[in-house]
Amino acid sequence: MTYPAIHIDNLTKSFGPVNAVDHLDLRINRGEMFALVGPDGAGKTTTIRILCGIIPPDGGEVSVLGFDLRRERQHIVNRIGYLSQRFSLYGDLSIDENIEFFAEIHNVRDYKNRRDELFDYMRLTPFRSRYAAQLSGGMKQKLALACTLIHKPELIFLDEPTTGVDPVSRRDFWQILSDLLKSGITIVLTTPYLDEAERCNRVGLMNNGTMMVVDQPKNIKKMMQGTVVELICDNIRAAYKILKEVEKVKEVQAFGDRINLILEDYDSGFPKVESILKSRNITIESSRTVTPSLENVFISLMQEGKVDTT
């Protein structure tokens, strides 16, 4: 158990002229929940598909759960689970039949106890005979996860698992993930929602096929250059327009009832903001500095030219 769950050295993969994965190095520890985030086309899904043995890499060394991807692919495939973006369920099969199908694919003969356990645990038991197509987004997601877990994998990959799932189901889903983590399963997931990534042990920001930053969310937030200030004032929209033109303000983000500003230097920048708004007759009701979100950091790294924008 001294080896990491995933060990990637100098991985490359191109599709024609496009370097989808470009000299990527990454280690993911056993028993951690790891989020892979980045813009569209960053290489997240390609990386996951390589790790799952679905597509072959062009170069580099990859080991998963201690097995070499080239020489011991089957050992890896037997020990991992993959939940793709579209959940890959059969709409015209029942919940029970979907599980049976996945059990057969994975050559799990004695799956019935495991199945009942998973259904109970995910509160799917009352709906077993329902067709997958008739399930809500949240139930489909749980069924897809149950299918992914039928062969007791040690490591699971979840590609955008919560897209289109409502908040209550999403909360249930995160609770299930925490439970899985407790049982020792390693979880690697991708998400376009950075508040979700923030709940993981570590986050990797990926762009142009390589990793820009890999660290705990709290450390990534410390990388933020500048101070985030939350401003509550009358006429948010007018203030937003004015502040966008102020030089000392690196970025303005307008929310429904407040504005977040990123100031390179608070001490010199904030008095400037105050005086400009005052001169335009906008009253600041309150202001405070707030902890940057992962989204703030992500956008800021990007603006420094470290990430290409689309």
Partner: protein
């Protein structure tokens, strides 16, 4: 002036009441967030407001038109963009815009003006000839928005517009929405992502067919969660959650990724008791911090009742 008024709106399907006596107003130029879990009645409300479904009782107007008697006028006055974008993947960007412009009955001159506007707004100038299917999700999203706005609607409905869109494109999308609202377009949006609901001026929360809360994001956070909320970082999240849920001094607790959110009556006493009870069970507490509840906490608080 209100862009949308909804009064005692009710819709039944057989014995089932999907929308139950719902009332609210949406001001002109407002970004209005309509939130609810699957099956809460969101889609039924939107269908009625778009003139696609009549009400069983109660009434609503959109841009001054009655949903039950003037649905055709409503359809001409509103724009609608769905989660799936409804674009033709095998048509180019220009062809999609042309097609939707035709559907909305724009004359040729107007159509050319509006297509030029939409392409510019969506940042697709270099991509006019590109096949829609080949575009990244964020670009498709902006194209779909452009299509929905070609006929200069006064009210635009965005039904889960950002599913699967990356953070950079999403930020850009909300900047566009903000500009639209400032020009006086009323934006009615649904989303499952509560960090996004923060962009809305007003949020209405529907649960089991009824409105359970409404207000600005700040109002929702301060009016509905009255007790201090603590974020607990400790080992054994699930075990800790089970222990805390058995304590009568814990008001609410839930998992938040690798952390716990716990509501208590008093910050200091609560924080001390959490440390005590968890360490009795040999759980190490790495840190406890008071946090401002997120909209997600509010949503769970209001809707997750058995």
């Amino acid at each position: 002036m209100n862009a949308i008024t909804v009064k005692n709106l009710t819709r039944k399907f057989g014995d089932f009441t999907a929308v139950d006596n719902v009332s609210f107003d949406v001001k002109r130029g407002e970004i209005f967030g309509f939130l609810g879990a699957n099956g809460a009645g969101k889609t039924t409300v939107i269908k009625m407001l778009c003139g696609l479904l009549t009400s069983t009782s109660g009434n609503a107007t959109v841009a001054g038109y009655d949903i039950n008697t003037q649905p055709e006028s409503i359809k001409r006055t509103i724009g609608y963009m769905s989660q799936k974008f409804s674009l033709y993947e095998d048509l180019t960007v220009s062809e999609n815009l042309n097609f939707f412009g035709g559907v909305y009955g724009l004359n040729e001159r107007d159509l050319n003006d509006r297509i030029a506007w939409a392409v510019e707004m969506a940042g697709l100038t270099d991509k006019k000839g590109a096949l829609t299917g080949s575009l990244p999700v964020g670009w498709k999203q902006r194209l779909a928005l452009g299509c929905a706005l070609l006929h200069r609607p006064q009210v635009v409905f965005l039904d889960e517009p950002t599913g699967g869109v990356d953070p950079v494109s999403r930020r850009r999308f909300w900047d566009l929405i903000f500009t639209l609202a400032e020009e006086g377009v009323t934006v009615f949006v649904t989303t499952h992502y509560l960090d996004e609901a923060e962009y809305c001026n007003t949020i209405m929360l529907i649960h089991a067919g009824k409105i359970v809360a409404g207000g600005s994001p700040r109002q929702l956070k301060t009016e509905h969660i009255r007790y201090p909320m603590l974020e607990v970082n400790c080992t054994g999240i699930i075990e800790s959650l089970n222990i805390l849920q058995q304590q009568d001094w814990v008001i609410e607790s839930s998992v938040f990724g690798t952390l716990l959110h716990v509501s208590v009556e008093n910050e200091e006493a609560g924080s001390r008791k959490i440390k005590e009870v968890l360490s009795e069970h040999n759980i190490t507490v790495h840190g406890i911090e008071r946090i401002v509840p997120s909209l997600e906490d509010v949503f769970i608080h209001l809707t997750d009742k058995p």
